[in-house]
Symmetry: C2
Subunit: 201 residues, 2 copies
DNA sequence: GGGGTAGTTGAAGATACATTCAAATAACTC
DNA sequence: GAGTTATTTGAATGTATCTTCAACTACCCC
């Protein structure tokens, strides 16, 4: 028998297991048995904690998203220079490679968001928060005279996040010419014209 | 009994039916019965034409993608002015609304492309062709002296397609503030700095 | 350390889905 | 228009998955 765990611990485990299962089989292809296997439990045990699988899947997506965002914020807090912040943020929004689990999970959401309102709301809220994150970097840099913005910061920030998203898809789809480094350079090229700064640090 | 059709006619029908079924249930959630229902047939009939459902799904994705791309090329051919071409191309790459079937289908592919090499290749090939399309518009405009490009045309074109992709996702996910018009404006703002042209026509 | 609780299993039952195929029939051929 | 072929159905079969639940057991608490 699998190790017994407290309600909360097991639920955390299951959310992690669901995350992995989604990455492996897709939001619409994932099954109870997949989650159970990832968690090292039987289907019955999964159902004991989450009588409705779709609830678990939503929680898994939510948790994965929050973690991704929190991680970026935490990293951002380690530097103060606007240039360093911007460059670091661009990098942290891209997958480390085609297998990056965080981005893989987010990408799974993309298609489902068109069909499922809950996923749509989740994804939209992540997008908006990332936009705010970029916007505050841009505004701060402009206030300090480091950036000379080529347009309003909201527009620029929205485009920066959009580019991140799109290259995340390209990388996970294994574009032969666009990897993490190339994608970062492409986004940086936009960021340079947007900020009027060479962004060398 | 459903109307009898020739092999080729029925296969075309089934590809269309599969397209709708994928949009409704996702690449990984679609079932034989969904396709059959969309086509107004029984599962047996579907299996008679496509013994392997996944083959039909790939064909459906392929067909949808080709149609999307061909449509853009055809529209592009109706104008000659680089400014008009660029503006029109940006608009034609965006969904008409959250329900736009062509973009919905492409978005379904995004997540699956990380898991399924075939889908990855399909999506990558579409991306590359779209980049070429933009690149040729940019190069022509530059040669004519209409555009003063802010960087190399490949970088700019890649970013333009990336922005299209990303806003396609935002729109199908029903972002409350970003619809087709707003997305077009966001991409145009990038296109303006990229071409040094106001892009009014 | 005994009783109670919470977590887990495994098997049984129910449901859903894919797959096969004989029979039916529409369309085509000569 | 008789015979042949291609397409479709519907029912039967098999398999996979979900769901339920009684039994088991580890752990907690007094």
């Amino acid at each position: 028998m699998a190790q017994r765990k407290s309600r909360t611990d097991r639920r955390i485990d299951l959310i992690e297991a669901a995350r992995r299962a989604i990455i492996r089989h897709g939001v619409d292809g994932v099954q109870l048995s997949h989650v159970a296997e990832e968690a090292g439990l039987t289907s019955g045990a999964v159902l004991y904690h989450y009588p409705d699988l779709s609830e678990l899947l939503v929680e898994a997506q939510h948790a994965g998203m929050e973690r991704f965002y929190e991680q970026r914020l935490r990293q951002l807090a380690t530097v103060t220079d606007p240039v360093a912040k911007l460059v670091m943020t661009i990098r942290s929004g891209l997958p480390t490679g085609p297998l990056d689990p965080d981005v893989r999970l987010l990408n799974e959401l993309g298609g489902a968001a068109g069909r499922n309102r809950v996923y749509g709301v989740l994804l939209t809220s992540l997008y908006d928060r990332q936009v705010s994150m970029y916007q505050s970097i841009l505004d701060t840099g402009a206030a300090l005279g480091v950036f000379r913005l080529s347009g309003d910061s909201l527009t620029l920030a929205r485009n920066l996040v959009a580019l991140e998203d799109a290259y995340g898809y390209r990388i996970t789809a294994r574009h032969p010419l666009i990897g993490p480094a190339e994608a970062a350079e492409l986004i940086l090229s936009y960021a340079r014209t947007a900020t009027g700064n060479d962004l060398v640090h």
